[in-house]
């Protein structure tokens, strides 16, 4: 078998540098040597990095923001509500009218145990059970990337609710990029701990992809937060590289 010629050769570095300046995401060029070194030192271990000390607190960082953002007594439909933890919190602390949708029967039973109204249903079959604008908010927390038809679900979400709350892992996060780009491996990170064959994330996308979609579909991003380098903060322009996870509030224009 013939060896393929190398695709990336650092021999003609100046030509390469010019090309990178032209073609590559400018944000990537700002990646610090420290970060790269940390990443490269980790390369070779096939295990996900061990969770940092803040992992527990950050596990549901989105819930804190949702709780502080939604008004008292509003109505919320949680799409893929899991065990109902978010709705319990919002029903108890903000007296919201909550309704969950969940496919997994065991999770549904947990919802009932927590006193959360939940309908066992498949989001891939749409939200035809629900009338137009019947909720103030619909939530898609870490769910969009797991469904078969994400765009259809986003559209359904903004049909049944006046506003959408969407959180998702950003597959343009720099560690994820380097895993695939430099190592040629499907990324495994602290917050994306799955291997390619057991991941529920069947539609990987990036913050930039999502922003593109909002522009083409007449959807406005009202506010955004990210988890970046262990910190939760407001969304910034360069976050397609730095955000590990994203939370945005959206509405139709």
């Amino acid at each position: 078998m013939n060896e393929n010629p190398p695709i990336l050769s650092l021999g003609d570095a100046s030509e390469l540098a010019a090309l990178i300046r032209d073609k590559v995401d400018p944000a990537l060029m700002g990646l610090s040597a420290g970060k790269l070194t940390e990443y490269l030192n980790h390369v070779g271990s096939s295990q996900p990095r061990t969770p940092g000390p803040d992992a527990g607190r950050l596990q549901r960082w989105q819930d804190d923001i949702i709780e502080s953002t939604v008004p008292q007594g509003c109505s919320i439909l949680d799409l893929g509500c899991g065990h109902g933890d978010l709705l319990v919190r919002l029903m108890d602390r903000k007296q919201v009218r909550g309704q969950g949708i969940e496919l997994d029967p065991d999770a549904v039973i947990q919802c009932v145990r927590q006193g959360v109204p939940v309908v066992q249903a498949d989001l891939d079959e749409g939200l035809k059970d629900f009338a137009d604008e019947s909720f103030d908010y619909a939530v898609l927390e870490q769910t969009l990337q797991t469904v078969r038809r994400p765009i259809a679900l986003l559209q359904e979400m903004l049909r049944v609710a006046r506003r959408g709350i969407v959180s998702f892992p950003n597959f343009a996060y720099w560690r994820v990029r380097l895993d695939l780009g430099l190592r040629g491996r499907m990324p495994i990170t602290e917050r994306l701990p799955y291997r390619w064959y057991d991941t529920p994330n069947i539609h990987s996308f990036t913050l930039q992809d999502f922003e593109d979609w909002t522009r083409t579909c007449g959807v406005r991003i009202l506010s955004g937060h990210v988890l970046a380098e262990g910190q939760v903060r407001e969304l910034r322009a360069s976050d397609n590289l730095y955000a590990e996870e994203v939370l945005v509030f959206v509405e139709r224009e």
Binding site: R97, G98, Q99, I109, V112, R113, Q114, V118, V119
Partner: protein
């Protein structure tokens, strides 16, 4: 979900309600009869009911259980009067939902006052076709009026009135009992906090209507049926047994029957090449049919299956539109279906939940994975018990 049946709780078990005595109340008289949904009225109406636990001072700890086609008011515990009343089968086993009702059980009698009444037209102590017609002194037979699910729910409401109960914490029922629970949420929305519907839909499917038609036909074509006037002679036992055999098939599922019986022969290694009982499944159905005849009245079977056929929540309360009907609902609702149920299939059970969703009313719908078919609502008591306990005990009103 796999479940193993525990040994029944004996009457002296701390988990059993113990010995029970059925009670009877006259809810209507000949002079002041009970009005019926399809017109006319009936009187007197005597109702047999049972209660478990204590009614608290605030009278707000009441759970109404609504029974299914062949059920009775004897939900839990051991009938002290089984011998005296000739209900010998009750001496062998506790009430039909003893797994659900008792001290510490999902419907905890240490906390709740649980009530169940035998419905009009049945044959377990409440006025039915085998009761004497006051104008002739003989059993009603087919002169008994047609009764409906709506009548039963009104009858239960009257019983609660008589017991001094204005509002109930929950109504719960499975199958035809679940249809009564639906009717409760629509007919008396202001009288209940929670409604639990197990393996039941707002109306019976076409296939369900067909099964009931065959069941009634086997009864009415029994040579002993005699237009329903058989109380002086032999009962249409073969017809009733065949109806029960057919019904039992609808209570199981294809995979469930396969698991339980396969193609095993009954008590033999080789087929006998006869028309006797060859296969284990035949033996099971034969036994179910014969046991049923000992405890059920054929005319009651006709009336009750008809009530099941006629019930249509959408027609009754929404001019045919279930969403319109559900505007009335004020209670928290939980609908539970079972994946292999083909008598009340999940998609049909879900319709009630969907209508409530359409109105933005909070609702819980669970489709329990099970191979036990329609019977799952009784057999899957671990998961059903867990759901019911959580839902009934939950203090957070979601609406």
């Amino acid at each position: 979900m796999a479940t193993t049946r525990p040994d029944v709780d004996p009457p002296d078990s701390p988990c059993s309600v113990g010995w029970t005595v059925p009670q009877t109340i006259r809810l209507a008289t000949r002079e002041d009869p009970f009005p019926l949904e399809v017109g006319g009225s009936i009187g007197p109406v005597d109702v047999e009911y049972e209660t478990y636990g204590e009614l608290n001072k605030a009278r707000d700890n009441v759970i109404l259980v609504t029974h299914a086609l062949s059920g009775d008011a004897h939900v839990a515990g051991w009938d002290k009067t089984a011998e005296a009343t000739g209900r010998l089968w009750r001496a062998r086993k506790p009430g039909w939902w003893d797994t659900m009702v008792g001290p510490g059980k999902p419907l905890d009698t240490g906390r709740y006052f649980v009530v169940c009444a035998n419905f009009l037209g049945s044959c377990y102590g409440t006025t039915g076709p085998s009761s004497p017609n006051p104008s002739t002194g003989k059993p009603y037979g087919l002169s008994f009026p047609v009764v409906t699910v709506e009548d039963w729910v009104r009858q239960q409401a009257r019983l609660l009135d008589a017991l001094g109960v204005a509002r109930i914490r929950a109504v719960i029922g499975g199958s035809l009992g679940g249809q009564q629970a639906i009717e409760w949420a629509l007919a008396y929305p202001e009288r209940l906090d929670k409604c639990i519907v197990l393996a039941a839909s707002p109306r019976l499917s076409t296939q369900g209507l067909a099964f009931n038609a065959v069941g009634r036909q086997t009864i009415m074509s029994d040579p002993n049926f005699n237009g329903g006037c058989y109380y002086d002679g032999p009962a249409p036992a073969d017809g009733l047994a065949a109806a029960r055999m057919l019904a039992h098939i609808t209570y199981l599922s294809e995979p469930g029957m396969h698991d339980k019986f396969g193609r095993r022969l009954q008590d033999r290694e080789q087929p006998a090449f006869s028309f006797g009982i060859e296969f284990a499944v035949e033996s099971y159905l034969d036994h179910q049919g014969k046991a049923f005849v000992e405890r059920f009245d054929a005319n009651s079977y006709l009336y009750i299956t008809r009530a099941m056929d006629y019930y249509d929540a959408a027609a009754q309360w929404g001019g045919g539109d279930l969403v319109e009907a559900c505007r009335r609902v004020q209670s928290d609702v939980m609908v539970v279906s079972f994946s292999s149920d083909w008598l009340y299939p999940p998609a049909h059970c879900r319709e009630f939940a969907t209508a409530l969703c359409q109105l933005g009313k909070p609702v819980t719908y669970v489709d329990v994975p099970s191979r036990y078919g329609h019977d799952a609502f009784l057999v899957e008591y671990d998961v059903v018990g867990s759901l019911v306990r959580s839902f009934v005990n939950n203090e957070r009103r979601s609406s």
